[in-house]
């Protein structure tokens, strides 16, 4: 049976992981390759590396890092951040990334999704959507939830899928960082309406939240950052727990 995926997300600035980590057994927890390897050994199903560096120099550093990750890590990984046009996608795929995640660039230029799908295949194109509940319903936001757009979540997710997105990575800005669980009703609607996989993001604090994302949100994968980085939830324990609930996971 196809396994539900557990995906740690690493924020990268100038080639280093930004959020602190609690791994005492790592020689250099700031090294994304070391941390990624550890997660891979612990049973992470995929990894996401998000470049939050803004500068041109930083982007070069990130591309070099992608090359190191590709040569040393044997599970699929997605990279995001700083992708504005097709040439950015090409640069990162050539460096060895399996998938790219686009967010603001897709909202500003939806045709980029078609271009990526046409040139490299849908399977490399993850469309990330930051959503927030507003009186009119779930709305898409830019810049980490600060700037509202005129696009609504479900309508945009359908358009992204129709244009050739391979997966939707949905982050609820209302739930992100709060650690009280994922936005399960919205996830379920996305998962039921779309024919492509949906990745839940934003809100993981306890193991039960992953259970809910899979059982209530019907998500295909769940992404989290701090609960893994601070070893609040060890991945092997999380997977044992999910398996105990008859949720298909890779052990």
């Amino acid at each position: 049976m196809l396994a539900k995926r557990i995906i740690p997300c690493l924020d990268i600035c100038n080639g280093r992981t930004v959020k602190g980590t609690n791994f005492v057994n790592l020689r250099d927890a700031g090294d994304p390759v070391e941390l990624g390897k550890l997660y891979s050994q612990q049973g992470a199903d995929e990894l996401v590396f998000l470049d939050i560096t803004a500068s041109f120099e930083g982007r070069k550093t990130f591309t070099e890092l992608v090359g190191r990750i590709a040569s040393e890590i044997s599970i699929p990984f997605t990279v995001g951040g700083g992708i504005h046009e097709l040439s950015d996608v090409e640069r990162l795929l050539k460096a060895g990334a399996d998938k790219v995640s686009i967010n603001s660039a897709a909202l500003k230029n939806p045709g980029l999704i078609d271009e990526i799908a046409l040139n490299f295949g849908s399977q490399v194109c993850v469309v990330a959507i930051d959503g927030k509940q507003t009186p009119e319903g779930w709305r898409c936001f830019l810049n980490g939830g600060r700037v509202p757009t005129d696009r609504m979540l479900f309508e945009w997710a359908h358009e992204a899928a129709d244009r050739g997105a391979g997966e939707i990575l949905f982050t609820s800005m209302d739930h992100d960082g709060v650690k009280e669980g994922y936005a399960n009703p919205a996830l379920r609607r996305l998962s039921r309406e779309l024919t492509i996989p949906v990745i839940a993001s934003g809100g993981a604090g306890k193991m039960e939240h992953f259970r809910d994302a899979f059982l209530l949100g019907e998500a295909d994968a769940a992404l989290a950052a701090s609960v893994f980085h601070f070893a609040e939830i060890p991945i092997p324990e999380l997977k044992q727990y999910l398996r105990g609930l008859n949720i298909s996971v890779r052990l």
């Binding site: 040569s71 599970i75 060895g96 399977q123 039921r192 996989p197």
Partner: protein
């Protein structure tokens, strides 16, 4: 050991090179008939579209070269599909090494997403490629087309329908999954292939 990787217009070739590197093998990426013929092992990887890729292979004479290889050959993902008779993807006529068609997944329930993407288990039956696989193991898949179960099925997976996760006939081996992206399990498959 001299391992050659077929060079053609496909993506994802570098991850195969990296995976072999981790096993201590420096592979040669080539489209030369001589180099491919002289290699101890040949890997035919690929991510792409079937009809476009077949057109490229024919234009460069690689279809004939691959068909005539005598050493162990491993097709990966699109590589496996191209080794079959024909594909529903773009109505492509393929290499015909395995006399079985490639079909598109037809989802019947909303939870059956296409592409089949992620980790799924294989029931392995080939004693060489899956040596040491005594229980179902998880490997990584990304595909929208599949090879039905047939007499050459070397491993089977269930997704929407039971399909061939791997094929074997004579010196030709193939996997629908990506051993180069399947962690330690994938490394065992690659090592088993190198040991054939």
């Amino acid at each position: 050991m001299n391992v050659a990787i077929v060079r053609y217009n496909a993506g994802n070739i570098h991850s195969v090179i990296h995976a072999l590197d981790r096993l201590g093998i420096t592979a040669t990426l080539t489209d030369s008939a001589e180099e491919l013929g002289a290699a101890d092992k040949v890997i035919f990887p690929g991510v792409g579209e079937a009809s476009t890729t077949m057109k490229y292979l024919k234009q460069h004479g690689l279809d004939r070269i691959i068909r005539n290889l005598r050493q162990p050959v491993l097709g990966i993902c699109l590589g496996q599909q191209l080794m079959c008779s024909h594909s529903e993807e773009g109505g492509a006529g393929c290499l015909g090494i395995f006399d079985v068609p490639v079909l598109r997944f037809q989802p019947s329930r909303h939870e059956d997403k296409v592409p089949h993407m992620g980790w799924n288990t294989i029931q392995a039956s080939d004693p060489l490629l899956f040596k040491g696989f005594d229980k179902p193991e998880f490997v990584y898949f990304v595909h929208s087309f599949y090879v039905p179960v047939c007499s050459w099925t070397a491993a089977q997976t269930d997704y929407i329908v039971p399909f061939s996760a791997s094929l074997h006939r004579d010196n030709f081996y193939a996997t629908q999954f990506h051993p180069e992206k399947s962690g330690a399990t994938g490394e065992r498959v690659l090592q088993n292939f190198l040991d054939i």
